[in-house]
């Protein structure tokens, strides 16, 4: 992932999806790890979703609440700001990644600290906050186990929920041995031992560090409450023990009322980890005397969200609660892997969210290939807990891409086919000529190789030669008339 046009961030790769996917497809270890992990989590999700007889009603309510948020954003943001401020928190606004980075950097500098702790957060990953802080001489220590694996391995996340999903236990052991100070050289590959190593490594840092940075799952406009939904307890450590807490929250993360949590605390864990409930959820409102950080800042981040909001179809992607259910059922994600998307947001949601946050910069913008990275199989639509019509948005973004940057010669071909298919006489004549394609087949009537852009098809598939006779030719002939008339007469005879 790269810095693009000077703006920091992890929202754009350096090559198109098909090129980047090539590496994932040929990485046998990653393929195996992904198949195992996504199959496991799919089954877990299906089991806990089946327990609730009101799942579809919860999805409908989740979608409606999020739509309501998008429709009333200015009002709800101001309400949220007022509530946080009234409870002793300080609200900041950031138009883009650089502005958010500068705000957080200044806040940390004001504390005099150069080491901070971080809870896993998509928003801070999206704006490359760690890199921005590093440039200012501040080390941000990731505390989520998977993020720690990524950080120590100088790697990038490939999944929203399980960022190191592409790594297996042996690789993780090697990463810890190479990068974790003071680690036991006889560390085993048992997940329990690896988790224990991270506990020991991070414990002293939790007890020492005075500033932490978090993301936010839900911000409650009505009360100014902020929440972090997690499993390991690193989130609790970060939002409880330091003196200063800085939370970065996308402006779409709001919920209107505290009560709305009753919907999302059912939708999120079941869709995400496939659990009835995640081990820990922290909720806090501003600053509480004698409990937790006494200085609380929250940065409200736009970074392209308002661009997505302007699209009547695409804005639905902003309902996303980052559960990653769509990744886990996606056959393309499972094979290509998360890195192929070049963005903090991989998988189906990434394919619709990333290009909307960034727009298409040029005809060759790697993000222009993302909406095409789907076979439109529709499994993502079915599992999305907030009913985002992912395939509809993919089609809309494909439409926008070919409208803004018509590909050559594809656009001409499509126009030619439109001419052909909207003029029945032309098509009647052309259909009859398809049989000429039979010359491509050998003696066994099988086409095994064709040139040009169709070559990808025949690299793994045979094709039968076109038939001697099209259906329309057959239907106009005597065989069809005799056969079908006799068949109908037979049925009437029986009746």
């Amino acid at each position: 992932m790269s810095t693009f046009l000077g703006m920091p961030g992890h929202l754009r790769g350096v090559e198109s999806f098909p090129r980047a996917a090539h590496r994932g497809l040929t990485n046998a270890t990653q393929r195996h790890n992904l198949t195992h992990a996504t199959t496991t989590i799919r089954d877990k999700r299906a089991a806990v979703v089946a327990e609730l007889d009101d799942w579809q009603e919860l999805r409908a309510a989740g979608s409606a609440i999020k739509r309501d948020v998008l429709a009333r954003l200015p009002e709800l943001l101001e309400q949220f700001e007022a509530a946080v401020t009234a409870r002793g928190g300080i609200v900041h606004w950031a138009r883009d990644a650089a502005e958010a980075g500068a705000i957080v950097t200044d806040l940390i500098r004001a504390t005099g600290e150069t080491e901070v702790l971080k809870v896993k957060s998509m928003a801070t990953q999206e704006i490359a906050l760690n890199e921005q802080l590093a440039a200012a001489g501040i080390h941000a220590q990731e505390t989520d186990l998977a993020e720690l694996i990524i950080q120590l391995g100088h790697d990038t996340p490939s999944h929203i929920l399980v960022p190191a999903i592409h790594r297996n236990r042996a690789e993780i052991r090697d990463i810890f041995l190479a990068g974790m100070p003071g680690v036991d050289p006889d560390l085993s590959t048992e997940p329990a031992d690896l988790a224990e190593a991270s506990r020991v490594f991070l414990r002293t840092q939790f007890l020492r560090t005075r500033v932490a940075i978090s993301g936010c799952n839900f911000g409650i406009a009505e009360t100014g409450t902020v929440s972090v939904v997690e499993s390991e307890g690193n989130g609790r450590m970060c939002v409880t023990l330091p003196q200063t807490l800085i939370t970065v929250m996308g402006i779409e993360k709001l919920l209107p009322t505290y009560r709305d949590l009753e919907v999302f605390l059912q939708l999120l864990p079941r869709s995400s980890t496939g659990e009835r409930m995640n081990p820990y959820t922290s909720l806090w409102t501003g600053v509480t005397p004698d409990d937790g950080p006494q200085e609380f800042h929250i940065v409200l981040l736009d970074n392209g969200r308002t661009r997505a909001l302007a699209d009547s179809v695409g804005r639905e992607a902003l309902k996303c609660i980052r559960c990653s259910a769509c990744l886990n059922v996606c056959p393309v994600y499972e094979r290509a892997g998360g890195h192929a998307y070049g963005s903090t947001y991989p998988g189906p949601i990434g394919a619709i969210l990333t290009p909307q946050l960034t727009g298409f910069e040029s005809a060759d913008d790697p993000n222009g290939s993302l909406p095409f990275a789907s076979s439109l199989c529709g499994r993502c639509n079915e599992v999305c807990p907030v009913e985002i019509p992912i395939t509809d948005i993919l089609l809309e973004l494909r439409h926008r891409k070919v409208t803004e940057y018509p590909p050559v010669p594809e656009a001409t071909m499509m126009q030619t086919l439109t001419q052909l298919w909207s003029h029945p006489r032309l098509w009647n004549a052309a259909a009859g000529m398809v049989a000429l394609g039979r010359v491509l087949g050998g003696r066994d009537h099988t086409i095994t190789s064709v040139p040009g852009f169709l070559g990808g098809w025949t690299s793994v598939r045979d094709v039968a030669v076109p038939p001697k006779q099209t259906f329309r030719q057959w239907f106009a002939g005597s065989e069809a008339q005799h056969l079908l008339t006799a068949a109908r007469r037979g049925a009437e005879g029986e009746a």
Partner: protein
Amino acid sequence: MSDAKDAILRRIRDAEAQAAAAPEGRVARSYRTSTESTAGQRRELLIDRLLDYRAMVREATPTELPATIAAVLSEAGATRVRYAPGLDAALLARFDGEALPDDPSSDPRLLDRVDAVVTDSHVTAAATGTICLQAGPTNGRRALTLVPDCHVCLVRDESVVYGVPEMVARLDPLLPVTMVSGPSATSDIELSRVEGVHGPRRLIVILVHPGPPEATPG
């Protein structure tokens, strides 16, 4: 600073105009907001969920409670114990080791030297096995139930509700809340669940109810 706020709000209004999206109107809440159940059914469901998360579960009547607390603490090998300052000190009377009320003004990092902590809880959803700790005298400050490695948590019959909606309805939005569903866990390595990372590795739940204690599970 307010430049950014103004700019973002302006962008949102421009986007709204461009998308011409209709307001959502009233949100239909046709999902279950309450479920009929008896205390016994909720308790049974809760025990099933807690065991599934691999928490330890004990049951006790109010009169048995001090003995049960003492028993689980010594089983856990705890010698230095802190309890939520609003908890009745008599509950810890049967415990042999050092049991002191937590001082909320003390440095929370000092809790790292404590073996176990005892607190009450505010509300619990049986269907998901979720115990809510609402910061305050009986549930303690947040750090109290986080830093020590063993958390003995009292869940009283009258605080157990059926599902998440009933649970959320009983929370005070202005107080810090920690929802706990089993001990800390991770599935970050090959999706295999490991209990015990940064939060307490042992969660011992004592269900306090008036009835005669049934066979102790788990």
